[in-house]
């Protein structure tokens, strides 16, 4: 597969590899994908009291595009608020890495990982408020 230099860089030098303690109060953990599909991404964020993501870590089982997409995402979410992070679209990831068409689904999974991590954080920290948010969205 002919990958872009940026993608190869993320593969050779992945950013923010690692794990946070999922039990820690400021940490949100999103795990998306399935081994049967060949892609599993774990994205963790540490959110401060101002609601800003101050740190992120990832672990990915998947092809070069999947690894690069999740590595990129950890860079992009840092310094953003949760709502700003939720605005990250897979198309932006795909464009930045110049993903081949057959690999676009890796960027979609990375976008899902962000949503899953944010949802987990919100459910942990303000369960009542989170439930209210969900209710508001669904009415």
């Amino acid at each position: 597969m002919a990958y872009s230099d940026k993608l190869i860089d993320h593969y050779d030098n992945p950013r923010n590899v690692g794990s946070m303690d999922p039990g820690e109060s400021g940490v949100g953990t999103g795990m998306v994908g399935a081994p049967a599909c060949g892609d599993v991404m774990k994205l963790q964020i540490r959110v401060n009291e101002q609601g800003v993501i101050e740190d992120a870590r990832f672990k990915t089982y998947g092809c070069g595009s999947a690894i690069a997409s999740s590595s990129l995402v950890t860079e992009w979410v840092k310094g953003k608020t949760l709502d700003q992070a939720l605005k990250i679209r897979n198309t932006q990831i795909a464009e930045e890495l110049a993903l081949p068409p057959v690999k676009i689904h890796c960027s979609i999974l990375a976008e899902d990982a962000i949503k899953a991590a944010v949802a987990d954080y919100r459910a942990k920290t303000r369960p009542a408020a989170h439930a209210a948010d969900l209710e508001e969205i669904s009415t």
Binding site: M31, C37, G38, K42, G62, I67
Partner: protein, 403 residues
């Protein structure tokens, strides 16, 4: 070549042996006649070369030269054998049998005949990749025209017992076709002794050029097939088209060398392959795909658990191998051969096929082993599945949010 790329994908194709290339070249611009030109010396010289090569191919497989039909390769041979036999017997019989792990050129041909009204049975294999003779026998019916089973599997290298399967076919009047593309030069083939009616042969897996192959068509008892390519009646009307003399000479020479050097090649390759496996199996959670003993030593298909195949191949920059991972195929489906072994999707996604050949060196094996070990380590450090495994989590019990 100490730092150059390492080729460990001999099952995909082989380089043309320099001796073969040298033998071919005069037939491009010196002895360039059309072997069908019966009226002048240019044609006679070309025809002589073609017939000599035909004998060389026949000799490697224990056949008579008259039983060898030139084709453009094993894919065409598979098409010709299966369609040719099915169409010839169209009136009396409508059923065909094959195996789930066959090459696409057999499976797709079978699918095509199914569309044309034939009934196809695709047999499963065991977790070792081998076909059960009892299951095969049970699948044969009075209406079965032909059964097709490959001798050596291209992905996992396992060897099917074609002698036994052929005997079962013979008893029931079923034609037996064997795709031997991966077998020539690796194991002894004896078509005089084996009850095989049709056999597909390739050149480019045996250090010959790409674009040339042959189909063995038994004469005693005579096997009849319908041509798929018409126009001139070449090859006893079984396959029309001007013969590519330089290609044929190449295949002949490649097969001649294979006959002479098979034993010594195999000894060397077995030692290299064992060395590679010894190195790779030192890595934790590594699995060999396919039976360990009924396989050609040239092939090592290995799954590296918790690491995905395409990302591993990226990390093996400079080493040419193949993967059974979905991500390396344009269909995004993991290897159907590995799935047929009952391998979980994860292990199919985590597989790499290493295939060793005539020109592989010990130094290449050692460098490859070091590279693989390093790459697997790096990717496991990135892998959430590896973490979960080390934490003692049983991944089969996890609820994944598949997309």
């Amino acid at each position: 070549m100490a730092d150059g790329p390492i080729y460990l994908d001999f099952a995909a194709t082989t380089p043309v042996d320099p001796r073969v290339a040298a033998r071919m070249i005069p037939f491009l611009a010196e002895t360039y006649g059309n072997p069908a030109s019966r009226s002048h010396s240019f044609g006679w010289a070309a025809e002589q070369a073609v017939e000599a090569a035909r004998g060389q191919v026949a000799e490697l497989v224990g056949a008579d030269a008259r039983e060898i039909v030139w084709t453009s390769g094993a894919t065409e041979s598979n098409n010709l054998a299966i369609k040719g036999a099915a169409q010839f017997h169209r009136g009396r019989a409508k059923h065909l049998v094959t195996v789930r792990t066959e090459h696409k050129s057999v499976l797709d041909t079978m699918r095509e005949l199914e569309r044309a009204g034939f009934e196809i049975t695709v047999l499963d294999v065991g977790s070792d990749g081998l076909l059960d003779a009892g299951a095969f026998e049970a699948a044969l019916r009075p209406s079965t025209v032909l059964a097709s089973v490959m001798l050596v599997n291209n992905e996992i290298g396992v060897i099917q017992d074609v002698e036994r399967l052929g005997a079962l076919c013979r008893e029931r009047g079923v034609l037996f076709h064997v795709d031997a593309a991966q077998a020539t030069g690796k194991i002894q083939i004896d078509l005089q002794a084996w009850p095989v009616d049709l056999m597909s042969l390739s050149a480019h897996k045996t250090y010959g050029p790409k674009g040339i192959g042959a189909l063995y068509v038994r004469r005693k008892p005579r096997v009849r097939i319908e041509a798929q390519i018409h126009g001139g009646g070449h090859e006893r009307a079984m396959r029309s088209g001007t013969l590519p003399v330089h290609q044929i000479v190449g295949m002949g020479e490649a097969y001649r060398i294979a006959g002479l050097e098979m034993k010594s090649d195999n000894e060397r390759i077995r030692a290299l392959s064992e060395r590679l496996w010894a190195g790779l199996s030192r890595i934790d959670e590594v699995y060999l795909n396919g039976d360990a003993t009924r396989r050609v030593p040239h092939n090592l298909n290995v799954s590296f658990n918790f690491v995905e195949g395409e990302s591993l191949m990226m990390g093996l920059d400079g080493i040419a191998v193949s993967s059974g991972s979905a991500c390396t195929s344009s269909s995004l489906e993991p290897s159907y051969v590995l799935r047929a072994l009952g391998r979980s999707d994860e292990l199919a996604h985590s597989s790499i096929r290493f295939s060793v050949g005539r020109f592989t060196t010990r130094e290449q094996i050692d460098r490859a082993t070091a590279h693989v070990t390093r790459a697997v380590g790096k990717l496991r450090a990135l892998s959430p599945l590896w973490d979960m495994h080390r934490d003692g989590v049983d991944l089969s019990t996890v609820q994944w949010s598949a997309h």
